[in-house]
């Protein structure tokens, strides 16, 4: 009986110590693996060009590049947005990334809408969802004009 009690104790103690080792190794390892999810991206203003050259009531597709840290690499990132001025010094700059699953939308002049080639999403010129599965509007980017240059906030 006493031997059996000792054996039960050893079984529990073995499981307990095994659990401690697993936790002591597992917590840092999981923290190591998932840490990028908690990393806040740096936001920065990136120039799109001279505001006068971009001023247009139609949407213009503008590509731009900027340098950003990507892990251990200083990478040259490339982005694409649609830009239009809406008057009174106000600008509309939309990300081309569909809010559904990340495909790139295209502006259709005839329909005056942004169309997504993947799942048929349609956004109007304010970025609001008109049709299709997207849960939210197109992302409108923060902009500013300084010294005649249009900047977009990249984050």
């Amino acid at each position: 009986m006493e031997k059996r009690g000792r054996r039960s104790f050893l079984e529990i103690a073995t499981a307990f110590i095994g659990g401690i080792i697993s936790l002591a190794a597992g917590i840092p390892l999981i923290g190591f693996a998932i840490s990028p999810a908690f990393k806040k991206g740096e936001s920065k203003w990136v120039d799109l060009g001279l505001a006068d050259r971009l001023r247009n009531s139609r949407f213009k597709k503008v590509d731009y590049t900027f340098t950003a840290k990507d892990g251990w690499v200083q990478a040259r990132k490339k982005r694409s947005v649609y830009v239009t001025d809406v008057g009174n010094g106000e600008w509309s700059v939309f990300s081309r990334t569909c809010s559904h699953l990340g495909c790139l939308v295209r502006w259709d002049e005839k329909q005056e809408s942004f169309l997504c080639p993947c799942h048929g999403a349609i956004f109007d010129k304010t970025g609001s969802v008109v049709a299709g599965p997207p849960p939210e509007p197109l992302q409108k980017l923060e902009v500013k004009v300084e010294a005649g240059i249009l900047y977009v906030k990249e984050s």
């Binding site: 050893l10 073995t14 080792i21 120039d47 060009g49 597709k61 251990w72 990478a75 990132k77 694409s80």
Partner: protein
């Protein structure tokens, strides 16, 4: 579903009772702490596999990225220095524990019949562990990694007939470079782990099939009347693992893993030194020069490994503890002392000091290799109008100056 329900579900589908009975089978009497070394080696193998798998999340096996990736792991990723420390120091601990395990087997002559196959697969595992070490230390792509690999691969090229071919296969060409790093990474993270777990599986099968060898002085009755493997021996093993893990974690926390400057194939000032567990081979080469070099690079290591592999068939004496076998005791002592002395001599050898500085001229390549960019937009559709008015830094400065002038 309750615990009892899960247990019943599994019992109806798996031979759990038979497994339980097998695990609780008694070991021989007089099993001491040295018999936990095999379990500790397996624990370290698992720890190395797990930490290595996590390190791979942040590693890139290319000469342009490897060193930066390792620096990033060590300095920027949370717990990165700790995880890398566990892996680095774990490798050294693994070599020590595996060698101690081997010496325990020699001490009690446990390799003798019927356990010859257990021994052979154990020696093969030792080779795999050394293979892990050799392929692993190139991965940080620092000076030590590069130059130790240059020397290591050159050693293999001295082997007769196929030496040069083997060296070229190892390098993936005529010199250490991107292809070498990629294949060492593949060997280290795919080929060797599969091989190791396969060999461990066979080794463990033999260990369980033949049972623990116990001590040579055990009577046949004592061979089956000791404590049960589970939970008694497993408990002792787990306590050993806890102590080993705490020690490793302490070293990983307080002793930074070295990372030298990025590999420079033109750095003639660097004195190449291998990891400590290859220092004895490195030192051995100093005693064999000219036509005798092949003795140090190929003949002695190969013959030594073959003798070790086939030891159970060479040592046909009765099973007894080492100090009752004068020949085995002498050979083992000479080998152990020889390796320890060569390791110390190799580690403490003075590095080359040159008195005259040579005039250095460095040709500047017209085009340096640039860091990889990662464009993340799609290619421009054909015929689509794209506006790219982005300014250069100079244009921005000019525009700002004009703007300030107007205010």
């Amino acid at each position: 579903m309750s615990y009892t329900g899960i247990k019943q579900f599994l019992s109806e589908r798996l031979p759990l009772e038979a497994l339980d009975t097998h695990l609780r089978k008694p070991l021989p009497k007089h099993i001491n702490l040295l018999f936990s070394l095999g379990s500790l080696a397996m624990f370290l193998l698992i720890l190395q596999a797990v930490t290595g798998a996590f390190l791979a999340f942040y590693y890139s096996p290319s000469p342009e990225h490897a060193h930066n990736a390792v620096t990033y792991i060590s300095t920027e990723v949370p717990f990165g220095a700790f995880v890398r420390g566990l892996h680095h120091w774990g490798a050294s601990a693994m070599v020590i524990i595996v060698v101690l395990h081997l010496l325990r087997v020699v001490l009690y002559s446990s390799y003798k019949a019927p356990r010859e196959l257990t021994w052979i697969f154990g020696v093969l595992l030792l080779l795999v562990v050394l293979g892990f070490g050799f392929t692993g230390y190139l991965l940080p792509w620092d000076e030590k990694a590069y130059w130790a690999t240059v020397v290591g691969v050159e050693i293999s090229s001295t082997a007769p007939v196929l030496g040069d071919f083997v060296a070229k296969v190892m390098r993936g060409g005529s010199e250490i470079g991107a292809v070498t790093l990629a294949r060492f990474y593949a060997l280290h993270t795919i080929w060797l782990p599969w091989l190791a777990f396969g060999l461990v599986g066979v080794h463990l099968f033999f260990v369980r099939y033949y049972g623990s060898s116990g001590k040579p002085e055990n009577t046949p009755e004592e061979m089956k009347t000791g404590k049960p493997f589970y939970p008694d021996q497993v408990f002792e093993d787990v306590v050993g693992m806890l102590i080993l893990f705490v020690a490793l974690a302490a070293v990983a926390l307080f002793v930074p893993v070295p990372l030298e400057d990025v590999a420079d194939p033109t750095n003639a000032d660097y004195d190449p030194r291998p990891e400590w567990y290859f220092l004895f081979l490195f030192q051995l080469l100093k005693y064999f020069q000219g036509p005798f070099e092949i003795l140090g690079t190929f003949v002695i290591p190969t013959v030594g490994m073959l003798l070790l592999l086939f030891l159970p068939f060479l040592d046909r004496s009765e099973r007894a503890v080492l100090w009752k076998r004068p020949i085995a005791l002498t050979v083992t002592s000479v080998c152990v002392i020889g390796i320890v002395v060569l390791t110390i001599l190799g580690g403490t050898a003075k590095k080359l000091e040159t008195t005259e500085a040579a005039v250095q001229e460095t040709a500047q390549p017209s085009e340096q290799i640039q860091g990889a960019a990662t464009p993340d937009t799609e290619a421009v559709e054909e015929g689509e109008e794209v506006f790219d008015f982005q300014l250069t830094e100079e244009e921005i400065e000019n525009a700002v100056e004009v703007g300030e002038g107007q205010q």
